[in-house]
C-alpha cells in the first residue's frame, strides 16, 4: 500500500470510488447523504457536465455555496438552473426515462441488491422502524443504473432484506422484469467502506474490488451469505492527492460529511 492510500479514510475511499463511476454528461438522480458528496466530487473533477437532480424538484447549476447537508438543504435554492416540483424531477426526468444513474444510500442491502430503509423485523410489528422510501424506491425502480453507497457493517448486508423499500434484482434471474420493472434498469454497483460490488448475469452481487487496506476474506466475512468473488477481483485504486484535496478542502471544507454529522449525533444541545 502506498502513502496516499494510508492518508485516505475508508469513507473517503468510498466517496472517491463512487464518484469515479459517474460519467461526464450523464443525468443523475441524487439521494440524500453519501450520493450528494460523491456527485459533487465527480462534478468538480472529471464530470463537470453532469446534471444533478434532487427529488424535491431541483436541478443544480453549480457546486453549491456550502455542501447541502441533505437534498432539501435551502442552499440548493440559489444554486439551481431549475427549481420546481417533485414531478419535474422524479416524474419527468426519472419516470420519463431520462435519468442515466440514480445514487442512493441505504440502511441495508441484500444479495440481489434490494435495499431496505423501512423496518427491521416484521413490517406490521417491527423491531425497529426506519424512515421509509422517499424517492429511493423510485430511483431503484426507474433509473438506468443505480449506485448504492453504504458504510460497511455486517448487519447491513443480510442475505434477504426484511422489507424491499427499493427493488434491486428481487429474487434474481428475470424476477425484476417479471414484476413489471423496465428492462435496462436496476442496480449497477454497491460501493462500501470495504469494497465495490457489481451484479452478475443472475442479478447477484459479486465482489469486484476491495479497499486497499481490506482483503477479499474480510469482505466475505462481512456479508451474511456466501459472497461471489469476481475472478479479476483487485484492490481499489486509492484516492489521488488531487481527489483528496478537492474532497476535503473544496467540497466539504467544514467537514459536514467527513466529521461533523457523526459528532452531532447524541450530543446535548441547549436552546
Amino acid at each position: 500500500m502506498n502513502e496516499r492510500a494510508e492518508s485516505a479514510t475508508a469513507v473517503e475511499q468510498m466517496i472517491v470510488s463512487a464518484a469515479r463511476l459517474i460519467k461526464n454528461g450523464s443525468v443523475l438522480m441524487v439521494g440524500t447523504q453519501w450520493p450528494v458528496i460523491a456527485s459533487l466530487l465527480a462534478k468538480s473533477l472529471h464530470a463537470p457536465d453532469i446534471a444533478i437532480c434532487f427529488e424535491g424538484g431541483a436541478v443544480l447549476g453549480k457546486i453549491p455555496d456550502r455542501i447541502p447537508f441533505f437534498t432539501g438543504d435551502p442552499v440548493v435554492n440559489a444554486n439551481c438552473v431549475l427549481l420546481g416540483n417533485s414531478l419535474d424531477t422524479l416524474g419527468m426526468v426519472l419516470h420519463g426515462g431520462k435519468a442515466d444513474m440514480g445514487l442512493l444510500s441505504a440502511a441495508s442491502v441484500d444479495r440481489y441488491g434490494n435495499i431496505n430503509t423501512t423496518c427491521i423485523g416484521d413490517y406490521a410489528s417491527p423491531k425497529m422502524r426506519l424512515a421509509g422510501s422517499g424517492g429511493a424506491c423510485d430511483f431503484g425502480s426507474l433509473a438506468s443504473r443505480t449506485i448504492i453507497i453504504v458504510e460497511h457493517d455486517k448487519r447491513r448486508f443480510p442475505e434477504k432484506v426484511d422489507f424491499i423499500t427499493t427493488p434491486g434484482y428481487l429474487s434474481g434471474k428475470d424476477s425484476r422484469t417479471m414484476a413489471g420493472l423496465k428492462s435496462e434498469t436496476g442496480p449497477y454497483a454497491v460501493v462500501t467502506t470495504l469494497g465495490m460490488f457489481h451484479f452478475d448475469e443472475v442479478g447477484e452481487m459479486i465482489l469486484t474490488a476491495y479497499h486497499p487496506s481490506a482483503s477479499v476474506r474480510e469482505v466475505k466475512e462481512n456479508v451474511q451469505w456466501d459472497l461471489k468473488v469476481d475472478s479479476n477481483v483487485k484492490p481499489l485504486m486509492p484516492p489521488s492527492e488531487k481527489e483528496l484535496e478537492i474532497l476535503r478542502y473544496q467540497i466539504d471544507p467544514e467537514g459536514m460529511y467527513l466529521r461533523n454529522a457523526r459528532l452531532l449525533r447524541g450530543r446535548q444541545i441547549s436552546i
Binding site: 432539501g72 416540483n85 414531478l87 424517492g135 413489471g180 449525533r265
Partner: protein, 318 residues
C-alpha cells in the same frame, strides 16, 4: 364566504377549518413546512386526524407524539440530521401514545396520488414501486396501501395503479399571500402544488401579507389562487425550525436538540410543554427562541433581476 373574513388568526383558522377526524394535507417539502399551524392543531387537541404528508419530519413526529394522528399517509419520516424520529418509532413499535395506521408509498407514488386527486382522475398508471414491498401482490409484507396491480390494456405489461388521494383540508406556509389567499411560494416545491389542489379547503400561512398588485406583477409564482382558499394567516417564521427560501435558514442545531429532547416519551412531554403547550401562539414561541437566534438564521440577500410580463393596452389599428 366574505373575502374580508379570510385574514384571521391561526387559532381561528384552525378552530374554524380543521375538525376531528379530518383528512389533512400538510404541504412543504423540507422548506415551507407549516409548523405554526401544526402546533396550533396540537394545542387545540384535535383528534383522529388522517395526516397526509410526503416529507414526514419533525412536524409529523410531533403530531404523532402529541396523539392527534390516527392514520398517517407518507413516503418517509425522519429527523433530518439524519437520525431517528423518535415519536414515529415509538408509535409504530410500541403504540405510544397510541396505535397509528401507516399507509406508505414511494415519494413519486404519493406525488402521483396527489396529482390524480387534484385533477379528479380515477387513477394514474405507473412503472414505479413494482416488485417492492409496496407491491403487496408480489410481496406478502403486510404493507397496507391502496395500490392496484394490473396488466396494461395497451401493452400487456404489468403496471401499478395509484389511486387519487384527496383531503378535507390543506395547510402550507408560504412566502407571501394577498389578504384573499392568492398565495405565492418559491424554493423547492416538492408535492405542494398538487397536494394543495387535492384539498376541499385550504389554509394559507404567510411570512408576509402583500397587496394583490404585487401578486399580479409575478403570477408565475402563484401556488394557489384565492378562490380555492378559505383562510389566510399572517404568520412570520411559521416554518421554523425548517427553512423558508429568502427568509431563513434551516435551524440545524435545533434538530440535534430535538433528537435529544425527544428520545424518551417523558422528555418529549417536556418538549411539548416548553414549545407547544407552554406558549399561546407563534409570537410567544419566537420569544422563547430569542431574537438573536432568529437573526442568526437570516440569509444574505440574493435577488433575481425583475422580469417584465409586458403590459398591453390596445389591439391593432384597422
Amino acid at each position: 364566504m366574505s373575502e374580508k373574513k379570510k385574514l384571521m388568526s391561526m387559532s381561528d383558522a384552525i378552530e374554524q377549518h380543521v375538525s376531528n377526524g379530518d383528512v389533512l394535507f400538510l404541504g412543504g417539502f423540507v422548506q415551507q413546512e407549516p409548523f405554526a399551524a401544526a402546533h396550533e392543531i396540537i394545542r387545540q387537541g384535535k383528534r383522529d386526524l388522517t395526516l397526509s404528508k410526503c416529507a414526514g419530519m419533525n412536524l409529523v413526529d410531533q403530531m404523532i407524539g402529541a396523539g392527534v394522528i390516527k392514520h398517517l399517509i407518507t413516503s418517509f419520516t425522519w429527523n433530518p440530521l439524519p437520525t431517528t424520529a423518535h415519536c414515529f418509532v415509538r408509535a409504530l413499535t410500541q403504540e405510544i401514545p397510541h396505535k397509528v395506521e401507516v399507509e406508505e408509498y414511494s415519494l413519486l407514488g404519493l406525488n402521483l396520488a396527489y396529482f390524480a386527486g387534484s385533477l379528479d382522475l380515477p387513477y394514474v398508471a405507473t412503472k414505479t414501486m413494482l416488485g417492492s414491498g409496496f407491491d403487496w401482490e408480489q410481496n406478502d409484507t403486510g404493507a397496507k396501501n391502496r395500490l392496484r396491480f394490473e396488466k396494461s390494456p395497451f401493452t400487456g405489461e404489468r403496471i401499478c395503479l395509484v389511486p387519487p388521494i384527496k383531503h378535507d383540508v390543506g395547510i402550507i406556509q408560504v412566502q407571501r399571500s394577498d389578504p384573499h389567499g392568492n398565495a405565492q411560494a418559491w424554493g423547492m416545491l416538492g408535492e405542494s402544488r398538487y397536494g394543495l389542489q387535492s384539498c376541499q379547503k385550504i389554509i394559507i400561512c404567510a411570512e408576509e401579507i402583500v397587496d394583490t398588485d404585487t401578486v399580479m406583477r409575478d403570477p408565475n409564482r402563484t401556488l394557489v389562487p384565492a378562490f380555492r382558499v378559505h383562510a389566510v394567516v399572517d404568520e412570520p417564521w411559521g416554518s421554523h425550525p425548517h427553512p423558508m427560501a429568502g427568509y431563513y435558514d434551516m435551524d440545524w442545531l435545533y434538530f440535534a436538540y430535538y433528537e435529544r429532547e425527544t428520545h424518551t416519551e417523558e422528555l418529549f412531554q417536556g418538549f411539548l410543554k416548553k414549545w407547544v403547550y407552554g406558549v399561546r401562539d407563534r409570537k410567544e414561541y419566537l420569544s422563547v427562541l430569542g431574537a438573536k437566534r432568529l437573526e442568526s438564521l437570516r440569509p444574505e440577500t440574493f435577488t433575481s433581476e425583475p422580469v417584465s410580463y409586458g403590459k398591453h393596452t390596445r389591439h391593432f389599428e384597422v
